[in-house]
Symmetry: C2
């Protein structure tokens, strides 16, 4: 596998700055980020230890031995559990972890970072008992700061995810142009096209996602379609409903390539559009442009939200101001932070953002305009990674 | 939506027996189990309060208002957050939760159950501050005991998931019978068939799964295929590899219908089989039958494992004994417990189990036999819910 990516050294520098002797990662996104291994099924915990002394140490159940060795980039792989005759460090992960930490040459009372944001109480209690002399500190903010700026391998994979999303959107919109297409038909067309394209074009890319502790996500290529009154649901399985003229349809495509996500969302208008609806579409498009003009390193994330807010208010849509207008994208489709009033980060080159300036004007003759693209923050501005045509789409215009 | 399912009263009785005044659920599987609502995307927490005074109380972000009202069976739905002009109880979920608990007529120092197994430290800290006078108890074991026995609606949905899995397996096996089929081809065939069948046959059924806090799982219809040396990986994305004669191929199909999962796994043998391989196939099949003869209410789960262990040892495969031979199935594909030596539960009617008596004999001329079906424990034995033909499959026998 590839050599150690730059994020490890970046994290180690930050650990020194924050006086952390080691970090123990327990979240699927974090353990993948720092080892390269995603077992898809997490019913047996995966842990990664990061210290100053070595490459990250990956600890997995014996059941995952051959898979971990074939896909992790870190060379330090250790096993726990009891499985046939495979030799392991210990029958349980806490005991194996204690053994590995003993070898790490840590001080007598080390300060060890753990992930408060995702670590369940049960695991915390086990860690607390395993490390009786350690000072446990919350390292989630430090990890998130590291993850917010993407490494070159991550940006390359985000580009692939964005391309897969473009293909999915094309298929869904082509399906919706046919008169009797249901929400389900459009989603199935997107899924089929994305999976076929992935299978044919990307032999070395994985599309698995990060599961909960109870199950796995084998394919993170996802689409959903919400029509008419269902648009306000935000996310739902598609139904056998056929959109009717005068309605709009929201099409959402979320993809993943080697752990990195992309997001592409559009609104398709069925049949005629009235003047109020045209005005709403125009407003959403203009506000998005106003926000994009502010996207470059050094701009406060909150300032993007405030720019949008002024745009909504100036156009008479202040009552329909959404609580956020986008989010960071990476190992999660929604990860790390939202573009909202309470966010304190500044933009940095290498961040990846989904910008979604949506406008939902309820009621008869109202409008629901949803749209999202995935953007890379560059040294002097931005690059749009999803390439599908911008703006509202018209389908079945003669209906 | 449907009326309140029997699990609510079952849980309330258990709460009384364990002196719990209320339970606050925060895990996606639990909040769906006790409200009927799965928002798919969990970046804004969903909470459910269960007390003796009312139907479960669902607390969601204002963004999820219309979706929750359209799909939850509980009538008690409340909102938090700030979103346009939607009225909410409070800007944050802890503040809204405190308001709702004030209305619940609890004692001054209530005992409140929380989910230690899934609750992250950050959420625990917020709950602790929100409920300063409460005694917080771990209610995960109580919830799991309730979930282990399925309600009639859950069993009906498991049957649908099992049927979808049968269709997926048929498609994958048919694809593998063709000479140049790759792992990816077989998986794509299964995905396409399952989604098409779902879209056409089950207008009212959802196939979404429970996401992590960072993202959603829009389709839980999953398949993966591992051939030759990759069989020991357990779970991985399919590759462009074409299985070669003399190898076996593991086909895994996991499905979900309205939250309830099913699992169906088979081994397909490519070309000729040698005598040692035939013997391994025969052994796995016989051991599975021996275990099934013990499946009925009142049998200790551990006794199923011990029955398998005796079967492996008697046939000379003691060195290849797996650490578990199956698991409970329900709101997670792996949920609640494994069929293993350390499990202390007894079987009860209404439990759903995946029984997977696998046999991996490594090395040249070795064998990897994997198979799993989803079973319902009935009043006097069991019913197989997945119906695909049992045993090892032969494909490309002339190769």
């Amino acid at each position: 596998m590839a050599s150690q990516p730059p994020r490890v050294q970046r994290l180690q520098s930050q650990m020194t700055a924050h006086s952390l002797d080691a970090i123990i990662c327990t979240q699927p996104t974090s353990t993948f980020y720092l080892s390269g291994f995603n077992p898809i099924i997490y019913s047996d915990p995966v842990l990664v230890i990061v210290s100053q002394q070595s490459a990250p140490i990956l600890l997995v159940h014996a059941l995952r031995n051959s898979h971990a060795r074939s896909s992790a980039w870190t060379p330090n792989i250790h096993l726990y559990g009891t499985w046939g005759q495979t030799p392991t460090l210990a029958p349980t992960w806490p005991a194996a972890l204690a053994t590995l930490l003993d070898r790490c040459d840590l001080p007598e009372h080390p300060t060890i970072g753990i992930e408060h944001d995702g670590l369940p109480m049960t695991q915390y209690t086990l860690l607390r008992h395993t490390l009786p002399t350690a000072n446990l500190a919350n390292c989630t903010p430090l990890l998130h700061a590291c993850r917010a700026v993407k490494d070159p391998d991550e940006i390359a994979h985000t580009r692939i995810a964005a391309t897969l999303a473009d293909h999915g959107m094309e298929a869904a919109v082509a399906a919706l142009a046919q008169p009797s297409t249901t929400e389900r038909d459009a989603v199935l067309a997107a899924l089929q096209t994305m999976h076929t394209h992935w299978a044919a074009q990307y032999p070395d890319i994985e599309i698995c996602d990060f599961g909960s502790l109870e199950g796995g996500v084998n394919s993170g290529l996802a689409a959903w379609v919400l029509s008419g009154p269902r648009q306000s649901f935000g996310c739902d399985n598609p139904t056998p409903r056929v959109p009717v003229p005068g309605e709009s349809v929201s099409v959402f495509v979320w993809t993943v390539a080697n752990g990195m996500h992309a997001e592409l969302e559009r609104t398709a208008w069925v049949g005629d559009v009235n003047r109020a609806q045209q005005r709403a579409m125009q407003a959403a498009s203009e506000i998005r442009m106003e926000v994009l003009q502010r996207v470059c390193p050094g701009t406060a994330v909150r300032e993007l939200y405030r720019t949008a807010q002024r745009g909504y208010e100036r156009r008479g849509y202040g009552a329909y101001l959404p609580g956020r207008i986008g989010h960071s994208v990476g190992l999660g489709p929604h990860e790390l932070f939202f573009l909202e009033e309470t966010e304190e980060r500044m933009l940095q080159a290498g961040m990846v953002l989904a910008l979604e300036v949506n406008l939902l004007v309820p009621g008869v003759g109202g409008a629901c305009v949803q749209g999202s693209d995935t953007f890379l923050v560059t040294g002097d501005g931005w690059e749009r990674l999803t390439r599908f045509a911008e703006g509202v789409i018209r389908v079945r215009a003669d209906d």
